[in-house]
Symmetry: C2
Subunit: 346 residues, 2 copies
DNA sequence: CTGAAAGCGCTAACAT
DNA sequence: ATGTTAGCGCTTTCAG
């Protein structure tokens, strides 16, 4: 292979094509962009020359002119969290389908990193999808006046969003546990900065009250397996016969801890997760969990975002869609009848 | 909130700052970019005005001029595959650390999609990381004359690459199985287009020969749990007492199938995976697998790529690093002593 | 040390 | 239907 050392400093431009054909650059541009506005023969010649020379439009020049670059950013708190993989998948696929590229950024679950990222990246993408944003309502609203954004699992007035109705799934979970005779359950809270953990806790109040079930909250705990294991210990210090975890990573971490401690699941304790991530269906025991259509959420969010991008400067103004996606409980092995006697001392 | 309807058509530019300060645009540019080349007082005034007006440089304009945009693309065959999550993590983190954004693209394990993606995206990123590329050596070499790329799990002369030494791990696995008395093993091959599956199969020959073990190949199978389940059936039609899977998803899929079929693992059959993906340590039984430092690979590949980007036009030419990362076997529950008698008929 | 002017590659008015 | 011209926002000669 012959490597010239450096790549040709001057790529083939529209001017090269124009010169080859013997026309003006604008004609080439038109032939390429508005085929209707040039003669058929001209279009052929331009296309041939472009092909011949291996012309590739310079996207930077286009962006400078149009202010658009057909890229959207996806900001997630933690790319390490399997829950967000589904979101990455969904947005990735839909962005591609709509002709956009996806820029992936990890905000490290930090409001300041998130804000800095938005500031730095806003100019180079056409819009942003913010997953579980840590910013304030006001910050998000202000951001939306400058650039199209769609929130995922966060609801702020005037800003488009897609939220998973996880509270609904949690209510189903409580009903499920109640039908198994559980009278006392505990909710393992997620990070204190999490908008969704508060929603879930709130949603638990009416159902448990109606069913005469005691519910208490533990935490906050990080959304990780290790935190789940730690939470597992805390759960053992309560009277609860069932626990609802903020997410599946925690639940799976807890499952392992329970096994190590000799606590049988679901014999001694029932465990419910949330998310139905990869692994929830093959851990041991398999996990009863709230299935959240996060991949769909990614697709929908992307669709809304692209719509917003294309309508952002229109007189009607950008859309303000608030989409809510239903969730449901999937029952597997980790839940069962409440133990009759007292749980064996830990 | 007051939404003006449309975002200000004209963002604040360097000209606005220049006018505010009462100087030329070039002075503003210098004050911002080469602080040494303007007077201290001027720098202060420009910075103040820029801050005051909320000036943000237009990245498109910069890119047009410099030809760079501080973005690298990561092309993976399938964002759905947990194995690549580690790669996404590694590249994401390192790209950010080196001041680059990451564009994530799914090539659908297709050579033509991959080629098309490269063509379309090459102009808008500074370099590419190609994971498990399906392109030919020649195509890859040709691409590298035009734009910096780094291959992951693919080795091509003259093109920088990072490869995981999975064959080494496979050899360890065979030794491990031999020490458990296994005499006949089967290798479940990955996709026929996979460069690594061929390498592994080749690596198995000398070890098995040396240890007097029979090895046969089954497949090709897709790198999915379903394919693993299908492969599981095929394995049961052999005399083998142990199987080595192309990856963990297959292995985990097979584990479940074996459980359904009443085949005990490792009692009747030992199972080895590859990748050590999320879940490998909590599936049932937990999976003995070849641990591949894929996240490290992502980091290293990104480092090499950034180096290549910054040296690509240098007289010395771009680097041609070929990095090999060691792997090792992690023994968990899915492997054990070879069964003494014949395996119970399926 | 600062200003004026050219130009990156492309598109969109304006001509013709 | 095609050519000419003027920028998009920024950096970088080149003058002063």
């Amino acid at each position: 292979m012959t490597r010239g050392g450096a790549r040709p400093r001057t790529a083939v431009t529209i001017a090269d094509v124009a010169q080859a054909v013997g026309v003006a650059t604008s004609t080439v541009s038109r032939a390429l962009m508005q085929p209707g506005r040039v003669s058929d023969e001209m279009r052929q010649r331009v296309l041939a020359a472009a092909e011949e020379l291996g012309y590739q439009p310079n996207p930077h020049a286009r962006s400078l002119l149009s202010g658009r670059n057909h890229a959207v950013a996806l900001l997630v708190p933690d790319v390490t969290n399997p829950f967000y993989f589904g979101l990455i998948r969904g947005t990735q696929g839909q962005a591609k389908a709509r002709g956009y590229r996806q820029v992936l950024v990890d905000t490290e679950a930090s409001a300041s990193v998130e804000a800095a990222t938005i500031r730095d990246i806003a100019g180079s993408v056409d819009g942003l999808i913010l997953a579980a944003s840590k910013l304030s309502d006001a910050q998000l609203q202000e951001t939306y006046t400058r650039i199209p954004i769609v929130l995922v699992n966060r609801d702020v007035p005037e800003v488009p969003s897609v939220v998973l109705d996880t509270p609904m799934g949690f209510m189903q979970a409580v009903e499920h546990l109640a039908s198994f005779g559980h009278r006392s359950v505990v909710y393992i809270a997620g990070p204190s900065s999490s908008w969704t953990t508060r929603r879930r806790w709130r949603a638990l109040q009416p159902v448990t009250r109606r069913l005469g079930i005691t519910v208490q909250q533990l935490g906050p705990y990080s959304p990780t397996g290790e935190a789940g294991a730690a939470a597992a210990e805390a759960v053992l210090n309560t009277e609860a016969t069932a626990c609802l975890f903020f997410n599946d990573m925690q639940a799976i971490g807890a499952l392992r801890r329970f096994a190590e401690r000799g606590v049988r699941v679901p014999g001694d304790l029932s465990v419910v997760g949330s998310g139905d991530i990869y692994g929830a269906d093959f851990c041991n025991p398999t996990l009863t969990t709230v299935v959240t259509p996060i991949e769909d959420a990614g697709r929908v969010a992307t669709d809304i975002l692209v719509g917003a991008i294309e309508a952002f400067d229109s007189p009607a103004g950008p859309p303000r869609v608030h989409e809510v996606l239903p969730t449901h409980l999937t029952v597997r092995e980790s839940t069962g009848p409440a133990p009759t006697g007292r749980r064996p001392a830990p």
